[in-house]
């Protein structure tokens, strides 16, 4: 996939690009409003990661221009502003998702994949990883074409693992993905272990041993 990242903080820009490139994406970067306009005018992108508050202009204007020129790029807005109005405005203008800073790169990655899966951008709603396949429309998962009985959270967890395969996911990242703002409610992350262990057990029973423990407390979804 060809992705353009528009973000005026270089450190964040390159961290995002770096993370996404590991999945085989081609990432281009634009660190200013003008640069972004120049690039979307010249090239076609499958997806734009767009910061709203750029120093010399608004990301929303870039989005407007993009829609005006009938570019088929999917767009994910990243913004420091978490007001509902901004979010609705972004989505109204045709953005596909809206992520408030700060966010985990794994979370961004999983949102990007979700957007790209929605058929419109030539993606497929079926996700495959060796013998595991997931139908994201019906929210069901299969091992060797046999459906797995997963709870809602286990399904979300499996999807999150597969979209971030090969990455180390700490308990914090997983908790935030599954419960968002409420992830700090429990005094410890025991409740995550419960879900991870259940999922691991169900998969292992079906012969799929992909969830590995990394560094004692992190998790990693990988082959071998």
């Amino acid at each position: 996939m060809k992705i353009l990242i528009v973000e005026d903080e270089d450190a964040l820009l390159y961290a995002i690009a770096n993370y996404l490139e590991k999945d085989g994406n081609v990432c281009e970067t634009a660190s200013s409003y003008e640069q972004a306009l120049y690039k979307i005018d010249l090239y076609e992108y499958d997806l734009l990661v767009l910061d709203i508050n750029l120093i010399t202009g608004s990301g929303l204007d870039i989005l407007k221009l993009l829609k005006k020129n009938k570019k088929e790029s999917a767009t994910i807005i990243i913004s420091a502003n978490n007001s509902l109005e901004d979010k609705l405005r972004g989505l109204d203008l045709g953005a596909d998702d809206y992520l408030t800073k700060p966010f985990h790169l794994a979370e961004l990655n999983s949102r990007i994949k979700a957007v790209l899966r929605r058929g419109k951008f030539g993606g497929t709603e079926r996700l495959e990883f060796n013998e595991i396949s997931i139908d994201t429309r019906s929210r069901t998962s299969y091992i060797d074409e046999k459906p797995m009985a997963l709870t809602r959270k286990e399904y979300d967890l499996l999807l999150f693992f597969i979209t971030n395969k090969g990455r180390v996911l700490s308990k914090e990242i997983i908790a935030e993905h599954l419960w968002g703002d409420h992830s700090d409610l429990a005094n410890n992350y025991d409740f995550i272990y419960v879900h991870i262990n259940n999922l691991r057990k169900k998969m292992t029973d079906a012969g799929a041993k992909y969830i590995k423990t990394a560094y004692g407390s992190g998790d990693k979804f990988m082959e071998g």
Binding site: E9, A11, L12, A15, I16, N18, Y19, K22, I78, A80, N81, N82, S83, L84, T100, K101, P102, F103, H104, L105, A106, K153, R167, V168, S170, K171, E172, I173, E176, W179, D181, H182, S183, D184, L185, A186, N187, F191, A214, Y215, G216, S217, G218
Partner: protein
Amino acid sequence: MTAHTKKIRLLRKTSKTFLWISLVLMVFSTIGLYFYVQNLLQREVEEELRSTEARIKNSISENSTMYQLPPMVEVETVSQLEVVHLKDTLIFDPSQNEIEEFRELTSFSIINNQKYRITVRALIVESEDILIAVVVSYLIVILLVFIFLFYLNKSRTRKLWHPFFKNLEQMKLFSLTSENTISLVDSDILEFSELNTEITTLTDKVRSDYKTLKQFTEDVSHELQTPLAIIQAKVDTIINGEKLNNLQFEQLSSIQNDIHRLKQLNKKLGLLSKIENKQFENVTPCNLNKVLEKRIENLSELYPSEIQLKSKEEVILLMDENLAVVLCENLLSNAIKYALPNTPIEVVLEKGFLTVKNKGARAILKPDQLFHRFYKESDEVKSTVLGLAIVKKICDRYGFKPSYSYDANEHHFKIFFQEN
């Protein structure tokens, strides 16, 4: 002045002072007048008695006639001379057929070698009547004058203080959060005019300070997001980059946790200032039962024990739906955070109130500070401690009353809705 002093209205106070002064003046001036007139009348009577006595003496020396007109005049011959004396006496007056009070002058003289005692009397009743008439008419006049002055004074005072009272009403209506500027009545009294200037300066200053502070909170919480995003992205990159040892991973993981806390803090501060800035004004009838059911469903996964909702009737409140969600969520999160492990949480919703109950080992130490920002009971639980401040803010917004009590090892957080 302490707060415990009994407060009295300005107009009442001035009227009261006026009344007291009037009363004292009236009493003393009446007493003074009484004695003055009495003295005057007495001297008049004495003078009259002496003049009658002189006439009688004259008449005796000329024709030796002893006038008798009891009880007014009595002349007798005596063998011994005594000292002249003047006194009040009670004598039976045959003409009136009753005992009357007389002023009596008894003098002794030697006229034509004969010793006489001359007694002259005058009725006191007459002079007493005059005295009473004078004092009473004085009292009536002065009372009328006082009544007149009292009302005149009252209406004058009222007029004089009118700008003050008007401006006081204006100041009571003053609210930091409202945009309405304070409009003061001008006055030709210098002090009032000065007071107005001072009030205007003060309110403008307070308002601009408040605005700056609000803006500051909002700006800070906004500006912190980007550096936090960078830190988080970098931590994520490090975790997925070079090979780490377990300790390094633990530490990075803990940094992620702290970033999350900062993020939550920021979000809540932002929310608080948004409520203050009235950014949630989409008031609709809001079914609190539905909101609660949804929130409980969401949160029950995070809480190992049961969260029960007990409600006999539907409660519909006129408020912004987002705020209703935030209110319920914060009350529930608070209960989840502080509940004893493996104890159920009970939510009771009725027409007038909502109560969230959770088991706790002991009562909160400072319940009056519970709804303040950053109140922390202990360091046991890491939280952003803004949840209850947000609850309070929302309650203030809609005139709800939040309260806390501790009963039978249970914390009760109760919200009384406005009567309507």
